[in-house]
Point group: C2
Chain length 147, copies 2
């Protein structure tokens, strides 16, 4: 007796070029399992990496700007992967917790995300993967991102 | 362009009945990717869960006993999955670190292991999954073990 096929994958994307392999892996599994694929990009609330370095006009809404940029990138990625608009999600919040919440809401059976190792540049990604691994009610595939 | 197929999977097994789904998932991926599958069981050095409760004869080698039991279970599992004897590994040590070491030595591209969530009974399994996720140079699939 074999394991049940994965039916619904959730791919967490950040649109960075080095995460293309994560996207391709999700696309491959989607094909192999003939699964539904949902995409999620999380705009971190109050992104410190930006707010510390930039002097912004008072009326400049950084989060909204980031969401607008993400929408364009998400549209392009969704089109490329054949993911319909209803399965493309852009959320504002903590990346790890938002992935967990959406994974539960969509009742996916596999979350696919990128993960840097301990030698990685981005501690955030490792931390996100740990949060998701700890909290997810479903399987998690952490795709190693090569530096 | 698609992701490269996984060529060599390492499945960390503990022979517990509730981890059967983890085994089946690895078997399924082995078939889909036509990949080599290696099996690893780690006998924890000084297993505290036993040594605290048991009064053992002085000449009783608990580790060796556990290894002997594991050998029988590994033989049965290997036979069932069609994994040759050379791809069956039993090691003594820390589970997480041993998985990482063998994954590197065998140059596998995917580690498959079971993971309890934060509500899980076995904090050890979650901790192992975190160790492997943090340290692995390859992808990691954490298969959720249902309580």
């Amino acid at each position: 007796m074999n394991a049940a096929a994965y039916e619904h994958l959730l791919l967490a994307v950040d649109f960075a070029p080095e995460t293309e392999l994560v996207v391709r892996r999700a696309q491959q599994l989607k094909g192999q399992f003939e699964a539904r694929l949902s995409l999620l990009h999380v705009v971190e609330h109050l992104p410190m990496s930006y707010s510390g370095d930039l002097v912004l006009p008072d009326d400049f809404d950084l989060e909204q700007e980031l969401v607008d940029v993400a929408k364009k990138q998400m549209a392009a990625l969704g089109k490329r992967l054949g993911v319909s608009a209803e399965d493309r999600h852009i959320e504002i919040g903590s990346t790890g917790r938002t992935i967990l919440r959406l994974a539960a809401e969509l009742n996916v059976d596999l979350v696919v995300l990128g993960s840097h190792g301990r030698h990685g540049l981005a501690a955030l990604v490792g931390s996100t993967a740990r949060t998701v691994l700890n909290g997810a009610g479903c399987d998690v595939l952490a795709v190693r991102i090569k530096e």
